[in-house]
Amino acid sequence: MTESEPYWGRRALDFVDAIEASKTTASVISQFEKMIGELGFHAYIMAGIPMPGQSLEELTIANGWPAQWFETYNRENLHEVDPVPRHCFNTLNPFEWKHVPYDRERDRAAHRVMMRARDFGLRQGFCIPIHYDDAVGAISIAGERPYLDAETKGALHLMGIFTHGRLRALSRSAIASPNRRLSDMEAEVLRWAARGKTAWETGQILAISERNVRWHIEEAQRKLMTNNKTATVATAIVNREILI
C-alpha cells in the first residue's frame, strides 16, 4: 500500500494500455525497453526455462540481453547452473537476483554465473516467474543500479507479465494470416541461417543486433507456419522464397 501518489503505478497501467493497442512485436518490444530503461535496466530476457534436451535459444520469446552474454550463455548452457531460473521452480512470486538462495562455497558454478553476468553490466536483477501447468518460464531484467523499491517492483511485475502475454498473443495471431511474403530482411537473415550462421553471427555480418536477427527469423517462422529455425529455412527454400 503506498501513501504517496503511485507515479509508477499509473505509468505501468498506461504502458499496458499502449502495448495492448500495439499491433507488432517490434513496437511492444521498443516500448518495453524504453520503460525499463527509465527504471535503470538495460538488459532483459523472456523465455521458457529449458528442460533437459532443450536449449534456451529455442524457448526465447524476447531477448534483450547483451549479444555476447546471450551467446556465451547459450554456448555454455549456463541455464543448467544459473540459480535464477532454478529458483523460478520454487516460487510463484517475483524476486530479486540477490535474494536467490544458493551455496556460494559449494555451488561454485552458480556463483560464477552471477559473477560473469556482472561483467556485462547485469549487476542487479529482478526475475518474474511464469508458471503454466506443464512449463515454467521467466522474465529476467537487469541493470547496473536499477530502481528496486516496492512500487517499482510492482510496476515491473505488471509490465513484465503483460508484455510477455502481448508478445505471445501477437505471435499467435500472426499464425492466422498465412501466405504473406517474406520481407527482404527476413529472406536475408534466412539465407545466412541456411549457410549455418548463428543469429549472433548473422547480426555481425548484417550489422544489426542479434535480437533483431532473431525477430526476423521468428517473423519468417510465423509467415511460413513452421516451428523452428531449421524448418523455416527448409520451407523458405522449397517455396523459393530464398535461393542459395
Binding site: 495492448e20 511485475h157 510477455h164
Partner: protein, 227 residues
C-alpha cells in the same frame, strides 16, 4: 457426469443442502490450506459479508458431489474490491451494472489439474463466461494472485489490470477487469471441445436470458489454440 449449476436467490431453495458442505469446503481451502486466517471462524464454515442474496454461485457437481465453485457478486453492491482492497485499483472502484466481481474460485484438491478430459478450472471459466453473456454482462472484476495471469492469457481470457500487484500474506495480488464476450466464450468452448452450452439453470425459467451464439459447428483450425 459433470454439471455446472447456476444458483442464486430464485432457486437457492433447490440447492439448500449443498450450502453447508460448500461453506465447509471454502473453510478447508481458504483457511486450512491457504492460511487466510482473517477468514477463520469457529464453526469451520467460511462465510463472509458478500454471501448475500445478490450473490450468484456456480456449483460444479460430479454425480451430485460438489467438486468446485465460484461466486459472482454485482459490482453495484459492495465487493471485495470496493470494501476490502480499494487500494488495488488505481482507477477507482468498479461499480457497473454490466460487471460482476468473481471470488472464491476453487476446485477441490483431488480434482485439480486432471489430465483426463477438460480441466475443472477451465470448465468453470467457460461456465462463468456463458453466464455473463446470458445475463448481458461485459466484464468481470477479480482480485487475484498474479500467477493466474499467464494462464488467463493462455486460454484467451483477456485481463486488464486496474492497479499494481502488492504483496499480501507472501502472495503477489492484484485487481483486474476481464472481458466477457462471445468471442471469448467461443474460444474457451473450442479449447475444451464443447459444442453446446454447459450451464444448468434449474428453477430459473423465469430469468430473462440472452441468446447464446451457435457453437455447434467445429471451427476451422486456422487459428491454433494457445500453446
Amino acid at each position: 457426469m459433470l454439471e455446472i449449476h447456476v444458483v442464486q436467490r430464485d432457486n437457492r431453495h433447490l440447492y439448500e443442502h449443498y450450502f453447508d458442505p460448500y461453506f465447509q469446503l471454502r473453510h478447508d481451502i481458504y483457511v486450512k490450506q491457504r492460511k487466510w486466517m482473517a477468514l477463520d471462524r469457529p464453526d469451520g464454515r467460511e462465510i463472509d459479508q458478500f454471501d448475500t442474496e445478490d450473490a450468484v454461485y456456480l456449483f460444479c457437481l460430479d454425480d451430485e458431489k460438489l467438486i468446485g465453485a465460484m461466486r459472482a457478486v454485482p459490482t453495484l453492491s459492495p465487493t471485495l474490491m470496493s470494501d476490502i482492497f480499494p487500494y488495488l485499483s488505481l482507477r477507482g472502484p468498479i461499480c457497473r451494472p454490466d460487471v460482476y466481481e468473481l471470488s472464491r474460485v476453487f476446485v477441490i484438491p483431488e480434482r485439480r489439474g486432471e489430465h483426463a478430459g477438460p480441466r475443472v478450472e477451465m470448465l468453470l471459466l467457460t461456465a462463468i463466461t456463458e453466464y455473463g453473456i446470458s445475463i448481458g454482462l461485459n466484464g468481470f472484476s477479480i482480485v487475484l494472485e498474479a500467477w493466474w495471469l499467464p494462464r488467463f492469457e493462455r486460454c484467451g481470457w483477456k485481463a486488464h489490470p486496474l492497479g499494481l500487484p502488492q504483496m499480501m500474506d507472501n502472495m503477489s495480488v492484484l485487481a483486474v477487469l476481464v472481458d466477457c464476450d462471445e468471442a471469448t466464450w467461443k474460444s474457451l468452448c473450442r479449447q475444451i471441445g464443447r459444442t453446446s452450452p454447459i450451464l444448468t439453470w434449474r428453477g430459473l425459467s423465469g430469468l430473462n436470458r440472452q441468446l447464446l451464439p451457435d457453437i455447434s459447428l467445429p471451427h476451422s483450425p486456422a487459428v491454433q489454440p494457445a500453446q
